[in-house]
Subunit: 221 residues, 2 copies
């Protein structure tokens, strides 16, 4: 009984995700589902990335939070369009929430859309939103055992951004061990070592992401 309810929820989510996917590809917009634990740096990464790419691409953000609009206000200051989703207690975004949010975004005007998921290293990985790919952030302050303990998110992501590397001298965290463990779960992961505080590594991330946006547009046009 319990299993059948969960299965129905995931099936319904998958169906609406496919509809979102069609809208995204029809508008030639690259869509990234950004996930992490609370406080790993999702909003900071978005602020930095928008700053780096704002002269090249038209970007938008869908902000997912349980309640409040703090992150949307931060993103709003960058000047890009932002839509807030409040999940009202739910610990992840689902494809129906994204479908609703799309009513407030003009996809035709965008090249790149970020969806900032609820801060949670577990459930967001289970819900396809229709995105092109999932990217996850891990803060070095969380420790190098996280791939072992939360493997699904590492498995589902195409990109792993290891953030707050400026804290490495002060944490008991082995960067190589994170990478080895993550790649064992998912050998296709593209990994960036970054610090949203110092800016280290963000050029490489922005360059890679820019290529992805351009490749997608070439491919579709």
């Amino acid at each position: 009984m319990k299993i059948s309810v969960v299965k129905n929820i995931l099936e319904a989510n998958q169906r609406i995700a496919a509809e979102n996917r069609l809208k995204f590809s029809g508008s030639q917009v690259l869509v990234i589902n950004l996930m992490s634990s609370p406080g790993a740096g999702k909003t900071s990464l978005l602020e930095r990335t928008i700053q780096a790419l704002k002269n090249q691409f038209r970007m938008g953000v869908i902000e997912g939070d349980i309640q409040s609009t703090y992150d949307a206000e931060r993103i709003g200051q960058t000047g890009v369009p932002v839509v807030q989703i409040n999940t009202g207690g739910a610990c992840h975004l689902d494809s129906n929430m994204i479908r609703e949010a799309l009513g407030n975004l003009d996809l035709q005007t965008l090249n790149l859309l970020f969806i900032e998921n609820v801060g949670n290293l577990v459930c967001p990985a289970e819900f396809n939103l229709g995105e092109d790919f999932k990217a996850m952030i891990l803060s070095v302050a969380e420790g190098d055992d996280k791939p072992l303990k939360y493997p699904l998110m590492f498995h589902e992501s195409r990109v792993l951004l290891i953030n707050k590397i400026d804290l490495l001298p002060f944490c008991e965290c082995n960067l190589q061990l994170i990478e080895e463990r993550a790649l064992k779960i998912n050998p296709h992961l593209t990994i960036f070592r970054i610090s949203c505080r110092t800016g280290e590594g963000l050029d490489q991330w922005a360059a890679w992401l820019g290529q992805e946006v351009r490749r997608r547009q070439t491919f579709r046009e």
Copy 2:
């Protein structure tokens, strides 16, 4: 329809939590449900706390993880009895999982039982396990906006441990702001500033906790 399913789950959880509660109080054991984001320091706090109190009390631990037994192995090295729960994907413990785990613990031999929940700042706060109280850890690396964005956990907890204060010089995090925001949500919170790395603040926490254990036993005997 969706709401009624959720309501049934929470009602069933509450009923079994009440059964667990009876077992706990019958055995005069103080039970703490320990919650936090991934990597905030739950297992490190338990290692430190067990070390500090092992000559005064008989302790046990129930370890909640999605999969793996890494944390249980760490706790096992302290010499206290530990039972691992693997939720198999679920992002929180529920009272039925605890009821099952209690088959592997002799409550009569314990004064203090820690339940380490799954690393997640959202859903664990919704599920009563039958504990005496909930305690949460926030790492300063997560930032001072967390009470604003994840208020339920702050609301439900009796104790807030602000961990990794040794990282404060390297983070943009205002400790006073965390405390003000947390106390606005829950004026009854008891707050400790700690570092499981340097040991700072752990004496105060252990002393407070020792009082709680003794008070409970006096009250019950």
